[in-house]
Symmetry: C2
Subunit: 144 residues, 2 copies
């Protein structure tokens, strides 16, 4: 007795649709912090991994190296981060939050905390555990 479920829409399409909407909403609440969703995600990551190299960032944020170069460049122009040369490896750079970057990150965290709460409302702890588990599995889907 399978539960009726709209199978006429592919999971990927549903996920993509949800992401589009969510991203748009996030963009709106983030306006007051002056950053876009992608930059917000990067700020959060850097808070936990200040001085990470672009390629580490790419992995941590879920985008590729080329996208990271652009993202970091825009953030550097906005004075949220600075790039430094990696002494131990002439190819490498490291990315660091500036004071402004840190302040902005605080704002972003407050905003997204509320946002997340709103998102998770109407779901039990255990349901959210399932959701997190799914999102992590999706993140780790191998590129094959």
């Amino acid at each position: 007795m399978p539960i009726a479920r709209p199978t006429h829409r592919r999971l990927f399409a549903v996920f993509d649709h949800a992401h589009g909407r969510l991203s748009r909403c996030a963009g709106k609440v983030l306006v007051s912090a002056g950053v876009k969703p992608a930059q917000a995600t990067a700020l959060i990551y850097l808070g936990y991994h200040d001085g990470a190299q672009p390629s580490e960032m790419a992995n941590g944020v879920g985008i590729n190296n080329a996208a990271t170069t652009g993202l970091v460049s825009r953030m550097e122009k906005a004075e949220l981060v600075i790039r430094k040369k990696l002494l131990s490896d002439g190819r490498g750079k490291t990315v660091h939050l500036t004071a402004k970057g840190l302040r902005t990150r605080e704002k972003v965290m407050d905003i997204l905390r509320d946002f997340d709460d709103k998102l998770a409302k109407n779901f039990t702890e255990s349901e959210m555990d399932t959701v997190y588990k799914f999102l992590r599995a999706a993140s780790e889907l191998k590129e094959k």
Copy 2:
């Protein structure tokens, strides 16, 4: 007794990360169909709503009207769809799948069916119900 859960990463960031990865993977499997994820989503939608107007499409696919114009234009150039004038309203257009669009959609559906299965593997029916429920709730988050 709250279950230990990595609260140090915001739900939105986790979602965004998962979407980035997923989208990249989808892009790779979709190469054989010759379309990008966004076009694949549009093809799926149009299969269920052939002759929809751009604004309806925007809503159904989860993007805004401006994005839809560009998407449809690229798809028209690729001969996947055609635009027709809406007779009943001079402002409107309707978007229709071409024969090539239909064939491509078939391929896309097959590819994404596999993709979805891989994604949902390791999750029970009831867990996936929770995931779908969450994704739908996310889609409907009001823009406030």
